[in-house]
Symmetry: C2
Subunit: 331 residues, 2 copies
DNA sequence: AACTATATATGAAACGTTATATGAAATTAT
DNA sequence: ATAATTTCATATAACGTTTCATATATAGTT
């Protein structure tokens, strides 16, 4: 006899209801079954508080309804938002989400292997490791990085976003602007922000400077960079476009510390569209990434059967939103 | 013959290596086996690129190395941080994390059932639904809410935190302070912040007002509340303790909109310790919750075998950190 | 050399499902 | 009324592991 406290199985339900195992399976899966049988089974299920074992299901069906999400750090507000919306998009389709935070890029491969061992139905990944090994038969969707023609990539329209930033700064009266990025270059989509910005500056006749700061202590780097461009207490730029809101936030702090007013003396636009809280205003004027749409697109591409129809790169439209570090009120 | 593209199983490895199934299983699980056998099996595993099917393992072992985390909204920075650190604590123990965002409290039961169906090894939940049904045999650890003697609860020392806030405000020269909370009362641990604050005010001889605002549009509620306490352009409080950083952040914005200076005219302390980015300064002066320790404690309690040793409530120490909305510099 | 004792590889059974073939009963057609 | 057909519950065989009883090879004794 089964122990009193063991978890009930379909067999137990079948015995309780006095029907065959297969009949219980049908009822559980909503396959039509004789009225009297269905009622008896349903009663037994309720009585025993039966719940299907999805591991047995997964074993049988070779399908797990689970997707792994690889993200660098879900404490970062942009990634947190991405995780949240992907979670929502998956749950809408009754899929579960396994969250894998990749503290360093060595871990990425480890998690991909782990995810494959877990036999997830697919992986969505925002990764940095340039030579990841991904199994042929594990569906994969990349965010912000093209990984070959076999793997679809979803990203914001970073080029258009850069362009938009330049145009906005021009519209807001800037004449001499700077682009700021920090750290080593990776061959990923966000890099296109720079090219887009440059393009926008050229087409609007803005004089500009592209600057990639060393990957050191951000505050020191900023201070050094800004100091080089301050003459007689005046900054030689009247507009700055930062590759991320994080950078924008930090440089705004540095600027204010140097007694430069934002947006009066210099206007700053970031990229991402992060907020302190959901629903709060943005932390700076910014090019907002369409996170819910990115999430939905990733999930769509990942779960769609028709592999040949998967485009290699999907760019989603960005928007500009003022966040108090530009002077739209005064125009 | 098996199809070329099907996933290899232990059986395939056994055939390839010319050994029995059980031998492969032993090698995979690190159980000692004859040297020559081990080598042959390892070679076959590499050749076929074999990976264990954890659903078959889970079915057999009735153990999944997966924990479900129920959180209201991982877009909120406090919850995002919690999710991140719990993820880390779980991964350290080779456990996977299934993330379940409960957009509304009706979903909580749904997710718990779903989590149980997944046969997770346990659930960590920060929930609001007062009458959740949790299976006896599913280990559960609650965050911030006591759910009976059978279910351990992990929380910050909210009472001490409230007290600390009052003491800090007193130390910083306040004489007339207010406590602010918004929305309907839930019987959860964070409510103790109020009692702690009141206690602190009494012991320090501060005159105080406890105010629970209606659960409406926060900005309107704040404006109404503050207007009632402004006479001749001066606020009748010189210190405010908010039950969360979110509230603190919002009220600071409202105060500044009403031409009241923070911290010069009124000092504000929040609770939680959130930041815009990991590593950034806090958004306000605040009582910081020890999120990594909370995470570690939850995981510890969840996975520990000795059920009788699980204490019903664990309170972890909080700390005070200035975030620019108090005047420590000027003392 | 024959026998026991020990070590260790083997293979079948089980885990809880789902899918498929089987067969019994009910329905319809002749 | 009987045969043909449909309907639908049943029983059985997978799915890929782990475990355990069994079989086999190896080493140790007399």
């Amino acid at each position: 006899m089964k122990s009193e406290h063991s978890v009930p199985t379909m067999k137990d339900v079948a015995r309780e209801a006095g029907v065959a195992l297969g009949t219980v399976s049908k009822v559980v899966n909503g396959i039509p079954v004789g009225e009297s049988y269905r009622l008896r089974v349903e009663e037994a299920i309720k009585k025993l508080n039966y719940q299907v074992n999805s591991y047995a299901q997964g074993l049988k069906a070779n399908k797990t309804y689970t997707v792994a999400l690889l993200l660098p750090n879900t404490e970062d507000p942009f990634f947190a938002s991405l995780a949240y919306h992907i979670n929502l998009s998956l749950l809408k389709r009754r899929y579960r989400m396994l969250l894998c935070c990749t503290v360093n890029s060595d871990q990425e491969q480890e998690y991909i292997t782990m995810a494959q061992q877990n036999k997830v139905d697919g992986i969505i990944g925002l990764t940095y490791n340039p030579n990841l090994q991904i199994e042929e038969n594990t569906p994969f969707v990349a965010i912000d990085r093209s990984m070959g023609s076999k793997i679809p990539c979803v990203a914001s329209d970073n080029f258009a976003g850069g362009q938009l930033a330049a145009e906005k700064l021009a519209d807001l009266g800037c004449t001499n602007v700077a682009f700021l990025r920090i750290g080593s270059s990776l061959d990923n989509e966000p890099n296109k922000r720079k090219a887009g910005f440059e393009n926008g500056c050229l087409s609007r006749g803005l004089s500009y400077k592209m600057k990639i700061l060393n990957d050191g202590e951000p505050f020191e780097e900023f201070t050094r960079f800004l100091s080089e461009h301050i003459h007689d207490g005046r900054l030689s730029f009247d507009g700055i476009f930062c590759v991320t809101d994080r950078l924008a936030y930090l440089i705004i702090k540095t600027l204010r510390q140097l007694n430069l007013r934002v947006p009066e003396d210099v206007q700053v636009i970031g990229f991402d569209g992060i907020r302190v809280f959901p629903g709060a205003e943005h932390v700076c004027s910014t090019i907002v990434q369409p996170v819910p749409e990115i999430a939905e697109m990733c999930v769509n591409l990942l779960l769609q059967e028709n592999i040949s129809a998967k485009p290699p790169l999907v760019c989603l439209p960005v928007t500009y939103v003022s966040g108090g570090t530009t002077r739209e009120g005064e125009i």
